[in-house]
Every structure is written in structure tokens, then in C-alpha cells.
């Protein structure tokens, strides 16, 4: 410093290392707090994003284009027409990756021996794959339909068992058409799916789109909805607004959380709990930092008295202490990055299989199975919030000790007498 002159920044840095052990302990508490917050948030972000994605792909998409009254009163009479035009319109949006027509409704499935009520999803095998329709990945027997008017039906594994049917067995499906008439179709079991979500496996059947249209008396471009898919589910609201503005009044664009209300409420509740936990971690870390900073200040009262006596202003002294906190914050974040990067990388790529803990009956929310592999993936803005919060918490912890130092009475602390 001799060549450059004294610098507050360098002085603060050196002060930090006067009690190396205490500084390292403080840094480790910041690092560990950030580590916990990052992994905790990353686990939540990934988990909820995955669940939302699965729910969207299993049903109505991240954004749903449907009849304006379908949301409150979902019947097969409330449909959207010109699905090809709606699909093209959706695909024009820069956030949209895929858009597909689907028919969702209730069906009665009957064999010679058994009958069961279930939900059905009719999809177009020509435009859908396991990316838009992840349930196809859960096929344990058979395969997806070959054409939109394929005469097959795919059943949840538990539903098939309850009906006592296997591959190639006949099933009669009965539903109510747009006029309220009972209509029926015949299909052969062409596949069995096992998703792990009990409500799906025991209550969902899949039909070819055109076959369902034929039975229901729909026009060729008619469906109950167009499921729109985007890469980032957090943009669903904006995409829905744009599509809603671009479509005619007989079509409503709904984001996933308006359609999947139960799932949205569950996630909101969990996110609220997570924020509380993160706040608790922040307070605990801040309390630890405050304690060490306060002790450090109390030990140096005489020095502060001398500095004030020789003409340092209280503001400069306050600045010195806050710079020490600033250094602690910066180093704490660096330490946190070093501590977190390895475990984060492992958990985001390999993950930990927790299926053994969950067992065969996977937990589910709103028909969506909870992931059985524990993985993490944090949104960049959440990472930034944690970093900024940790840094600000460090600065805030130092405010009172720094203020106290700047208010030192030199006569009392130097003890000249």
C-alpha cells in the first residue's frame, strides 16, 4: 500500500484477516446458508417445473385454447372449431414450441364382464409424440396408434386390470355427444400404460382423435381444446394473454394454473413454505454474522477511538466497517459457489433415486406423479435473489456494529487517564 497510499478497501481486507479463525467461521456460515438455500430452491424449482410440465403434457398444455365456458363447465358440447388455424396461430408465437388438438372428456368403458367409468384423452398420433404426450413413454405393452382413426384404445394398467382386459381385447366405450345423446364406439386394446400416478393408471384411457371425433359427431377440425406447449412454464401467463388477444371471442386462452387449479394451489402452498424456510435460513445466517461482527467491533473499540481522535470522521469509520462486511459478503458468496457447484452438478445431472423411499404407490398431485428421482435445477433469477439476499443480509448484519463503532467516544475508549 506504500506506493499507492492507504486505501479503505485494503484496510478493510486486512482487518478481516486479523482473526482468521473467526472470519473463516463467518464465511462458512454464509457459504453453508447459501448452499442450503440454493439446493432447497433448486429442488423446489425443478420439482414444480417437472410436475407442471408433466401435467401440461398429460392434459391441456401449458396454455389451453378452449371454449370460453369450458373451464367452468367442461362438457363435450363446448368445443373449439378450426383447430388447424388455432394451432398455426399458436405456433406463430415465439414462445410456443408445439400446439396440438385434443378431446378430453368422460367415458364409460365396458367389456362383456365389467364396466368402469374413466376419463379419456383423444389425441392425433400423427402430430403427437412422447414429447407432447409423455404418457406415451409409460407404455408397458403395445404401442401408440398408427393413424388418427385407428381402432385401438390405450388403457391405464390398473384400469385394464379392473376391466379384466388384455391386449387385443374388445372394449365398448360410451360417451355423451354435443347434443346430450349417448353414443358408443368399439375399440381393441392396443396398449397399456403405467405412469406411476394412481389416478392416471386406474382412470385414464386414450383414443385416436379422429375416431373420437367420429363417435362424437365432431367436424374434422373440432376438438375440446388445443394444448399449447412452451419451454418455460413461467411465461404461460404472457403467452395466454397474447394468444387470447389474437383469437376470436369464441376461444379462450388459459394458462396452466387456471386450468390445473389444484396443482397450482398445491405448488403455491409449497412455494410459500419454501420462502418461509429460506427466510428462516437468512435470519439464522444473519444472526451468526451479526454476532461475529459485533464481537469484532467490541474488541476494537480502542482503535476506533484513536482513529476518531486523530481526525477520522464517523462516516469514514462506518464505511470501513461496512467494507469489511462487503468483503465478507463477497468472500462468503465465493465460498458458497465453491461449496455448491459440485453437489449441484451431481444432483442436476445424475440425481438421487428415491423410488425406494416412496414405494410402488407413488405420491401424486392432481393426477401428476411426484418425481421418483430427486433432481435439482434452479431458475437464474432465483439464484440471483439468493446471492443478493445473502450479500444484503451480510451488510445489514454489519449496520448496527458499524454504527456503534462510528459513535465511539474517544475519551472513554482510549482511556487516557
Amino acid at each position: 500500500m506504500r506506493g499507492r497510499g492507504t486505501s479503505l478497501l485494503v484496510m478493510a481486507w486486512r482487518n478481516l484477516w486479523r482473526n482468521r479463525r473467526r472470519t473463516l467461521l463467518t464465511l462458512s456460515s454464509i457459504a453453508f446458508g447459501v448452499f442450503l438455500a440454493v439446493l432447497f430452491t433448486a429442488m423446489q424449482d425443478r420439482n414444480w417445473a417437472d410436475m407442471i410440465d408433466v401435467a401440461a403434457r398429460l392434459g391441456s398444455g401449458h396454455v389451453t385454447l378452449q371454449h370460453p365456458e369450458y373451464l367452468e363447465s367442461p362438457t363435450l358440447s363446448r368445443t373449439v372449431r378450426r383447430t388447424d388455424a388455432l394451432t398455426a396461430l399458436a405456433l406463430d408465437d415465439p414462445d410456443v414450441t408445439r400446439a396440438v388438438p385434443r378431446i378430453l372428456g368422460q367415458v364409460m368403458l365396458a367389456t362383456a364382464r365389467e364396466s368402469r367409468g374413466a376419463g379419456f384423452i383423444a389425441y392425433d398420433p400423427a402430430v403427437e409424440d412422447s414429447v407432447t404426450f409423455t404418457v406415451l413413454d409409460a407404455l408397458v405393452e403395445g404401442e401408440s396408434f398408427s393413424t388418427p382413426d385407428d381402432g385401438g384404445i390405450l388403457l391405464g394398467a390398473r384400469l385394464a386390470a379392473n376391466l379384466g382386459v388384455g391386449m387385443r381385447d374388445k372394449i365398448v366405450y360410451t360417451m355423451t355427444d354435443r347434443t346430450g345423446e349417448i353414443v358408443s364406439g368399439l375399440a381393441r386394446v392396443s396398449g397399456i400404460v403405467r405412469t406411476g400416478a394412481p389416478s392416471v393408471d386406474r382412470g385414464v384411457s386414450l383414443l385416436p382423435l379422429d375416431a373420437a371425433r367420429g363417435v362424437l359427431g365432431y367436424a374434422p377440425n373440432e376438438a375440446t381444446l388445443v394444448a399449447v406447449f412452451i419451454d418455460d412454464e413461467r411465461r404461460a401467463e404472457q403467452v395466454a394473454e397474447r394468444l387470447g388477444a389474437a383469437t376470436a371471442s369464441e376461444v379462450a386462452a388459459q394458462p396452466w394454473h387456471a386450468v390445473q387449479r389444484e396443482l397450482a394451489a398445491f405448488i403455491a402452498l409449497k412455494v410459500g413454505g419454501a420462502r418461509f424456510m429460506e427466510l428462516l435460513i437468512a435470519v439464522l445466517v444473519a444472526a451468526g454474522i451479526f454476532n461475529t461482527l459485533f464481537v469484532s467491533v467490541m474488541e476494537r473499540m480502542r482503535e476506533f477511538g484513536i482513529l476518531l481522535a486523530i481526525g477520522w470522521s464517523p462516516g469514514r469509520l462506518f464505511g470501513l466497517l461496512m467494507l469489511e462486511c462487503g468483503w465478507l459478503g463477497v468472500l462468503g458468496l465465493l465460498a458458497a459457489a465453491l461449496l455448491t457447484v459440485g453437489p449441484y452438478y451431481y444432483l442436476s445431472t445424475a440425481g438421487i433415486d428415491v423410488s425406494g423411499l416412496i414405494g410402488d404407490s407413488a405420491a401424486e398431485v392432481s393426477g401428476v406423479a411426484m418425481p421418483t428421482t430427486f433432481r435439482v435445477g434452479i431458475y437464474p433469477e432465483h439464484l440471483a435473489i439468493i446471492g443478493v439476499t445473502a450479500f444484503l443480509a451480510t451488510l445489514l448484519s454489519g449496520l448496527y456494529p458499524a454504527w456503534k463503532a462510528s459513535r465511539v467516544d474517544p475519551v472513554e475508549t482510549i482511556t487516557l487517564v
Binding site: 492507504t6 484496510m11 484513536i306 481526525g311 470522521s313 482510549i414 487516557l416
Partner: protein, 234 residues
């Protein structure tokens, strides 16, 4: 003007200082009147509790008098607010305390530079002045040592360099030889005498130390917060 005809830098008139200790009022100074002229080399001595350190604290704008007036270079200290007092100390007063004067994280050079740094003096000028002063107090070659690497006497010499670096009107030294051996005390006094003689720096000591009293050119003896004797020498 002070009594000996020099320009008065410090003027105390009827200064009292009363401390409250528990339920008891302690009268540290009782109507102290004193003038210190420019270029003086004055020691205030007296037994413990006589008020010598209190007097230095008041002159150094570190504390406020209960009554009376203290004027430093024409500025009445009681009229100054906290910020103005801080600025006055920075620009016009040098301090040397008994011991542990220095910032442990700063080198001898940096410690000596501190006051000039907060004054905002240009880096080149600071460097020239600090190196000159450290050489004057016999610390050439030790500029980069931290206080822990210096002896007690060397640390006090750095404190002296720091105190006079910013050309103060007066250097207030509280028992500057209290924690050093005789040889070091002699050397410190020699350095301060030389700075007083050659550069005209005004020194005002509080001391018990006979070696300091011997070398002071004016000796003010306090007893019970009042001047008992005020002796000027050669």
C-alpha cells in the same frame, strides 16, 4: 499573546470539568486558566487524578468542559459541533497516546500517512513528507513493518511521525514515555525536542515521568484540578 510573549495557540479560561461517577460528582478541573504559546515545549505534570489528562482531552477537542472557555488558534471549542471538532483534530492537532497508538493492520509508513490521507493530501506529497518524517524519527528502512514487528519505542516514533505529519498547531502527548525503557524514553524526548527546535512544532505533554519534566522548557504542575506551579526554564 502568551505570558512569555509568544503567540498563544491554546487558551483556557476558568475551565471546570465535572464527571459524574455513580452518585458522586468528581471535579477534575477547577477553574483552570492556561495559555500555551506557539513553539512551546510544555509538560503538565501532577499526581494521578490531578486533571492533567482531562486538560489534554479538552484541549484536544475530545471532550467538552463543564464551564469556562477553551480557544485553539482563535476557535472557541465549545461552539464547534461534532463534525467541526473532528475536522479540527484532523487538521490542527496531533496526538500521541501512551501505547498501542497504531493501527495493527497498517505498516509504519501507512500509519504515519493516515492523517494526511484523510486530509486528502496528494499522494506524492504524502509520500515525500512521510518518508522524510520517518527518517527524522530514525525509522528509515522500517517503513514496511507492521506495529507488531516494531519495538515499543519504534511504535511511539511512528506515532510521533503521524502526529506531526499534517503540520498541526499543537501535538498533545499523553504520557508518551510511560511504556518504554529509559534509553528509549530519552531517545523519544530527543526526537520531539529536535522537531520542536528545528520545525517549531508545539508540544504539550501530560506526564509523571521525571525525564520528560526535566527536558520540558515549561512545567505546569496541577494539583486537584488547579495550577499549583507554572515554571518556565531557559
Amino acid at each position: 499573546m502568551s505570558d512569555d510573549g509568544t503567540t498563544a495557540i491554546v487558551q483556557l479560561s476558568g475551565v471546570t470539568k465535572v464527571y459524574r461517577q455513580g452518585k458522586v460528582d468528581v471535579h477534575a478541573l477547577r477553574g483552570l486558566t492556561l495559555e500555551v504559546g506557539r513553539g512551546e515545549f510544555t509538560a503538565i505534570c501532577g499526581p494521578s487524578g490531578s486533571g492533567k489528562t482531562t486538560a489534554l482531552n479538552l484541549i484536544g477537542a475530545l471532550d467538552s468542559a463543564t464551564s469556562g472557555s477553551i480557544v485553539l488558534e482563535g476557535q472557541e471549542l465549545e461552539r464547534l459541533n461534532r463534525r467541526e471538532r473532528s475536522r479540527l483534530r484532523r487538521d490542527r492537532i496531533g496526538f500521541v497516546f501512551q501505547a498501542y497508538n497504531l493501527m495493527p493492520v497498517l505498516t509504519a509508513y501507512e500509519n504515519a500517512e493516515t492523517v494526511m490521507w484523510v486530509q486528502g493530501i496528494d499522494l506524492t506529497e504524502r509520500r515525500r513528507r512521510v518518508l522524510e518524517l520517518l527518517a527524522a524519527v530514525g525509522l528509515e528502512g522500517l517503513e514496511d513493518r507492521k506495529p507488531a514487528e516494531l519495538s515499543g519505542g519504534q511504535q511511539q516514533r511512528v506515532a510521533i511521525a503521524r502526529a506531526i505529519a499534517a503540520n498541526p498547531a499543537v501535538v498533545l502527548a499523553d504520557e508518551p514515555t510511560a511504556n518504554v525503557d529509559s534509553e528509549t524514553a530519552d531517545r523519544l524526548m530527543g526526537i520531539m525536542e529536535e522537531l520542536n527546535r528545528a520545525q517549531g512544532v508545539t508540544f504539550l505533554f501530560s506526564t509523571h515521568d521525571p525525564r520528560v519534566m526535566e527536558r520540558a522548557r515549561r512545567l505546569v504542575r496541577l494539583v486537584d484540578g488547579q495550577i499549583a506551579t507554572d515554571e518556565r526554564r531557559g
